[in-house]
Symmetry: C2
Subunit: 249 residues, 2 copies
DNA sequence: GTCAGACTGTGGTCTGACCACAGGGTCTGA
DNA sequence: TCAGACCCTGTGGTCAGACCACAGTCTGAC
């Protein structure tokens, strides 16, 4: 039992401090040397634990002195999710097909939920749509904006878990997305179509047409993957929605 | 370029080796000392990178010598997802409400998909249902089986991303689930109801009744949370079950 | 009062030293 | 010849100590 590794002791301590509310977002972790002394472990073990927290998006470290230095609790779920999923895809723990299918699943739910909201906040999405209208973008630039657009929709729906997961999913297959775009003979017509599809989705959301939003979103994603990835993953039925916009806030 | 931290160099190298297929599941990482020399960094930096990979569920380390020792690539997405989500919930990056909502979202999709399959593999789920019939379980034991049951359904649907995510979601709120169960005046009647609900879900799946499966699953989860969490996170209007705007093949 | 310089405390990194462990090889005795 | 005890070697796990870079903060000369 007590053969727990030294870095796990440190991680456990920090986790319990978080769970107990002793540590909150914005707080500083104790200095590495102090933590090492306090827990009776070496500084290197403390560092391993902090490193894990950093990669998981829980803390941000900074050198120097003053209030902004040290390790600060900053819950940034998307970062951790991105690293995790990207590596899992690289290590073949996740298949690209499953990633795409899951993306479809989450995004259709998101737009369906959004359409059911009284006044969804689409300002961010609108800004990104406008930015994408610029014809000067390379495919990579356009796709970066596209990713932000989809993420903005998720954020508007208000579920942080879904938003972070979507960010991770997108990151995990970014490499494939870029390769796929590069294989297209010409990007301009594709961009034009994507712009139109984005607007259809947003319009359906604004019209509170949940089914339409889901359908447009579904076609948008499957269509794009069909064009850029050779084999398209079989996808969930767009109109069959996940039960629901359960929101309440 | 060189402002990249030493441990990131190591992580980057391993990731690119994974992406390039140089490293595959089952392979051994180079020994820490060798990797350090090869990349021109200290062993402690290598260790930080390996530690991250270990927590993320990508490698398993073992002391000693022989074929099973060292760091072996083992894609275990659920482990990493569990740690990540548990810590994010602890650090208030994820709200429990969002976790529950997301769980609902994924699980309804899973059972719906399952019902559409010709011959879903429910052997694992059946075994767990039988195990749950034992009246000798404490609430914690029952809930552990319950978690496995839901996970078995996800696994049967065949999407590894969804399965891993569900495992993470469940782990992240385990603490709250157990507390909630402990607050109940008596566990037996609850267990009885849960058993019946599980069987309804499985029956609907077997009958290829996707809508029914989704509805049963939805009620199962929302009902339980309504009973154990004081303030229920979300609950779609119960008078309006699950929207199935359109039919489904 | 200002501003330049030293001071201090923080993370980042490396080195070298042990330890525990487990497989594999070797030696010994039957 | 064979079995078993023994040591050897390579692996991760950990620690201690030493530097470095950095960025606030303090101090003192002007």
């Amino acid at each position: 039992m007590s053969d727990q590794r030294a870095w796990q002791v440190v991680l456990g301590r920090i986790e319990s401090d978080l769970a107990a509310g002793v540590l909150k977002p914005g707080d500083h972790l104790a200095p590495e040397r102090a933590l090492a002394t306090e827990l009776g472990v070496g500084r290197s073990s403390v560092r391993e634990a902090v490193r894990v927290l950093e990669v998981l998006g829980l803390v941000r470290t900074q050198t120097g002195s003053g209030p902004s230095s040290g390790a600060v609790i900053t819950a940034a779920p998307s970062d951790g999710m991105s690293v995790l999923m990207r590596l899992q895809v690289a290590a073949q723990g996740f298949g690209v097909d499953d990633v795409v299918r899951t993306r479809l699943l989450l995004e259709t739910a998101v737009v369906g939920e959004l359409a059911a909201l009284a006044g969804p906040d689409l300002a961010e999405a609108d800004t990104l749509l406008a930015a994408m209208d610029d014809d000067g973008h390379t495919s990579a630039e356009f796709l970066a904006l596209d990713a932000q657009f989809h993420l903005a929709l998720a954020a508007a729906a208000g579920n942080q878990v879904v938003t972070a997961t979507m960010a991770g999913l997108r990151t995990s297959i970014e490499r494939y997305v870029l390769i796929g775009a590069a294989r297209l003979s010409s990007w301009a017509p594709v961009a034009t179509r994507l712009r139109a599809e984005h607007r259809s989705i947003v319009a359906a959301v604004r019209a509170h047409d949940a089914d339409g939003a889901r359908r447009h979103l579904h076609d948008h994603i499957t269509g794009y993957y069909a064009q850029t990835f050779a084999p398209v993953p079989s996808s969930p039925d767009p109109t069959r929605p996940v039960p629901h916009p359960s929101k309440e806030s």
